[in-house]
């Protein structure tokens, strides 16, 4: 197993390298020169030149030990992402945004997974009935409504009209106060797709011979569903769930923006908008590493839940 983990971790090197190369090419080669924007509306060419020097934009792109690409690489490997365009250290921004993002995403994720799997199990059990059909119709309808509509509706009716929640973040609110509505909206919007997916997974299992045998032996519904069906359906569930975890770190752009949650999703999109290459680089790099690590964890989990899967 150790060999397997080490081998998998070694695979991460070319992946991370690829990510770094891609971000560099996108921003250094394809995108425009940010120095003019940083310089402001009345800038002299001399000031623009100084900015290019300060940010190392005057250095060769490749083919030098002091090239922009090598420096880009060095900063990633040392986790010294430098200062953002507003001169705040990038790592400070990430640390500050991680808390609110996780406060929003973790309960949303857990709620979504638990509720989806529970509903999926129930409707898989009553498959073919009018309840099953109704659930599928609701799921498809839920998937068809744009995410933004749920946000606008929730914010207008639940928060403004009925006054059940705050409309927006406020420094005087504690985290549970301002994340409840976005979490609820996040869970509801995610239910349609997730329930459909888990229902399919459950149905595949429910049709198995061992389920019929278990019922024939007189086991109760709960025991069959939660002890046998759920356990055997874990492979696709693990794939779905564990691989979603790294994205929790990235937060939710729309929810954070509409509810003023100062998280990482918001930070990332702001950075893209203002071409803050330093933040984008850091966030992409950290996300890539997390993604690779959780990929390895997924593979290990496979072997734990299903003895048929071997590390060999």
């Amino acid at each position: 197993m150790t060999t397997y983990i080490i081998r998998r971790l070694l695979y991460t090197i070319p992946i991370v390298f690829g990510v770094l190369l891609l971000t560099f090419v996108l921003f250094a080669l394809v995108g425009g020169d940010i120095s003019i924007e940083i310089a402001g509306k009345n800038a002299t060419p001399e000031t623009i030149k100084e900015i290019r020097e300060e940010y190392g934009l005057n250095k060769p792109l490749f083919l030098s030990w002091d090239s922009q690409f090598i420096n880009h690489f060095k900063s990633a490997l040392t986790f010294d992402f430098g200062r953002a365009r507003d001169r705040e250290p990038v790592i400070d921004k990430i640390k500050r945004g991680a808390g609110p993002s996780l406060a929003l995403m973790v309960p949303m994720f857990l709620g979504e997974v638990i509720i989806s799997i529970s509903i999926a199990l129930i409707i898989a059990f009553v498959r073919g009935s009018k309840w099953d059909i109704l659930a599928v119709v609701i799921c498809v309808a839920g998937m068809s409504v744009p995410y933004l509509s749920f946000i606008l509706f929730g914010q207008y009716f639940l928060a403004y009209k009925w006054g059940l929640f705050p409309v927006f973040f406020s420094p005087d609110l504690i985290i549970p106060q301002y994340v409840v509505l976005p979490v609820l909206i996040g869970i509801i919007t995610g239910l349609g797709g997730n329930v459909r997916f888990y229902r399919t997974v459950m149905l595949d299992e429910m049709r198995s011979d061992y389920v019929r045998t278990a019922f024939a032996k007189g086991l109760g519904t709960g025991r069959v569903l939660f002890k046998h069906v759920l356990k055997n359906a874990m492979i696709p569930i693990i794939t779905q769930v564990v691989l979603a975890i790294p994205f929790l770190f990235l937060g939710s752009l729309l929810l954070e923006r509409f509810f003023g949650i100062p998280g990482l999703g918001y930070l990332m999109i702001e950075a893209i908008g203002s071409r803050d290459y330093f933040i984008i680089n850091a966030m992409t790099y950290i996300s890539a590493i997390l993604f690779v690590i959780f990929n390895v964890i997924t593979d290990i989990c496979y072997a734990w839940v299903d003895p048929r899967v071997s590390f060999e």
Partner: protein
């Protein structure tokens, strides 16, 4: 007695109820102390930081202006805008040749307490703090956005900038190095020597980046000064949660200023002089929330969480009636409307070095006549803005009231005729024209489609290229665009701020993005740039505007008009084009604010 199963159900219900109850408490009290007056403001975009010398954007200037002060400020109530002393003891004493300005500064002005000072106690402001701040702007290693303010104007300052090129970094510059044009005969006197007359200097001395900076703060915080402002203004920074909110509180060291006793006609009737002569600031705290999306901004305002707000495009109908007054719904909520003309103009610029447009004046004129400005304003700005016939905004003193009769408006018939003339010059059917847009959002795309239709109506084919802002700026600065959609907001209430956009020496990558060059215009510009404010100068300004209209390097589209709503608990609220440090004038009635919740419930 509850059994185990019931207990679990009860606990689950209780937990859910607790969450909803907690969530329902939306911070109405907002954490303010009893009897504490708090202003709730909004920022619709992030601020760049609190380093006053490097402020180059309006949102930052608006916030930072509460902490820093300049030598001069604009009178809060009087219009046209009038300069009055702020940190200066009086208006400057100007030598006969207009080359030497002597300015006395107020005594007894103190910086806010900060750990950068010995024992954390803010020291008295000295003339040297201004000189330090201006030399710092000149320091090339500091890479300041605002060098344009002093570039080529003060004796010896350009040489100082030259010297800084040889320094290792911004912090190794010797600021004690003498600059002939910046002298301090004593701690309370500044003497500025100019290379040539520069009458606009007084406006620039009211411009945020020229505020004094304590050297101790720069030395102590280094690059982190961006988040540690140390000023002399009425407020000091408590929290800057980047990308979320800013909290400020009263600066105990603030000397105190008095609310103006005079205004323009109508101010008295509007209650804007009720606090005349009272000591400012009124509010104990100021909170700025960053809300970039329109729906939450609007709902927060309606809920009374923000004192004043602009009107989002999609909520315009809810707030303003067809007669351009407040709707009944707004009146029931005791909301007030204020409008004001902004010192800005937006246009479609032509690259005069472009091989097709530059040599073809009828084509440029045709485009200018083809754009249905009225429709554009109606569709995109709810009819709020004013049509631009020239580039001087109507709120400026030197605006030509006759310009609407002279400038080009929407005339598709004339445009079609001019297209035919343009085709003769070109020698055949005109190729597809290209317009660069600095953004790819829905509004920009809709504007692009609108222009394409306008062009098509007069027989022109237009391709719109949407690009992100830095790419757009890069294209414009390298003269790579044929046409571009852009605008300008005056930095000070002098038309010179617009005229320099057409001066040959400012051709791209300078501010003359049109790459327009006219020796006669240049000659006049050099003449007016050193003239004091007088009727002759106004005549020349207007003449120069007509020269631009004649040569048509741009199709001027609109002058924005701001519509702002505010709650009735906010007093002394008057819109101002140069919004630096206005929070000190505002007063809120906290009891009225507390009552609003009930009123809203009734109206809803």
């Amino acid at each position: 007695m509850l059994n185990m199963k019931h207990r679990k159900t009860f606990l689950a219900i209780a937990a859910i109820a607790a969450v909803f109850t907690l969530a329902g408490c939306d911070g109405s009290s907002s954490g303010e102390e009893p009897n504490e007056m708090v202003l709730y403001s909004v920022m619709t975009s992030k601020i760049a930081g609190f380093d006053v010398s490097d402020i180059g954007d309006y949102p930052s200037a608006r916030v930072v202006g509460q902490i820093f002060e300049c030598l001069y400020q604009y009178h809060y109530l009087k219009r046209p805008y009038e300069l009055i002393p702020q940190l200066a003891a009086d208006m400057p004493e100007v030598s006969k040749d207009g080359l030497t300005y002597t300015i006395k500064i107020k005594k007894g002005v103190y910086f806010a307490d900060d750990k950068c000072f010995p024992n954390g106690k803010g020291r008295e402001l000295k003339a040297g703090d201004f000189i330090f701040a201006w030399k710092r702007i000149a320091n090339i290693k500091y890479i300041c956005k605002n060098w344009w303010i002093f570039d080529g104007k003060i004796v010896g300052l350009d040489e100082f900038r030259e010297y800084t090129k040889s320094c290792k970094d911004q912090f190794s510059v010797d600021y004690s190095r003498a600059v002939e044009g910046l002298q301090t005969p004593d701690d309370y006197t500044i003497v500025i020597k100019l290379k040539k007359p520069w009458p606009q200097i007084v406006y620039l001395l009211a411009h945020q980046p020229t505020a004094p900076v304590a050297k101790e703060a720069v030395d102590y915080y280094g690059k982190d000064i961006i988040s540690h402002p140390v000023g002399t203004g009425p407020y000091k920074l408590d929290i800057w949660h980047r990308g979320s909110y800013i909290k400020m509180s009263r600066n105990p060291n603030f000397r105190g200023e008095f609310y103006p006793s005079e205004g323009e006609p109508g101010d008295l009737e509007q209650g804007l002089l009720a606090d005349a002569g009272k000591k400012m600031p009124f509010a104990d705290k100021v909170v700025w929330m960053l809300i970039e999306e329109e729906q939450p901004l609007w709902l927060q305002f309606l809920r009374g969480k923000i004192d004043a707000s602009g009107i989002p495009k999609d909520n315009y109908g809810q707030a303003i009636s067809a007669s351009r007054n407040l709707t009944d719904e707004m009146k029931k909520l005791n909301i007030h409307l204020k409008t004001f003309r902004e010192p800005a103009t937006y246009w479609i610029g032509f690259n005069m070095e472009d091989s097709i447009l530059g040599k073809n004046k009828p084509l440029r004129e045709a485009i200018s006549y083809a754009i249905d400005r009225g429709k554009y304003i109606e569709l995109f700005w709810n009819g709020r803005d004013e049509v631009a016939y020239g580039f001087i905004p109507p709120m400026m003193k030197d605006y030509n009231p006759e310009i609407s009769k002279i400038g080009r408006g929407y005339n598709p018939q004339k445009a079609s005729e001019l297209v035919k003339e343009a085709e003769k010059i070109y020698g055949g059917k005109l190729p597809r024209l290209k317009l660069a847009m600095g953004g790819a959002d829905t509004l920009q795309r809709q504007f692009g489609q609108f222009l394409q239709r306008n062009f098509k109506d007069v027989g022109l084919d237009l391709e719109v290229e949407y690009m992100d802002w830095p790419t757009f700026l890069g294209e414009v600065h390298t003269k790579s665009t044929q046409m571009f959609s852009l605008g300008w907001i005056a930095d000070y209430p002098d038309v010179e701020s617009f005229l320099q956009l057409f001066y040959t020496k400012n051709i791209s990558p300078g501010t003359n993005n049109f790459n327009y060059s006219n020796p006669q215009f240049d000659k006049l510009y050099e003449q007016v740039a050193v003239m004091p404010d007088c009727p002759e100068r106004t005549e020349l300004y207007r003449k120069m505007e007509l020269m631009i209209l004649e040569d048509c390097p741009a199709a001027f589209i609109n002058h924005p008009v701001g519509y702002v709503l505010h709650h009735d608990w906010l007093y002394n609220y008057k819109l101002h084009a140069f919004q630096y440090g206005l929070a000190k004038y505002y007063r809120t009635d906290m009891a009225k604010r507390a009552e609003y919740k009930k009123l809203l419930k009734k109206v809803k």
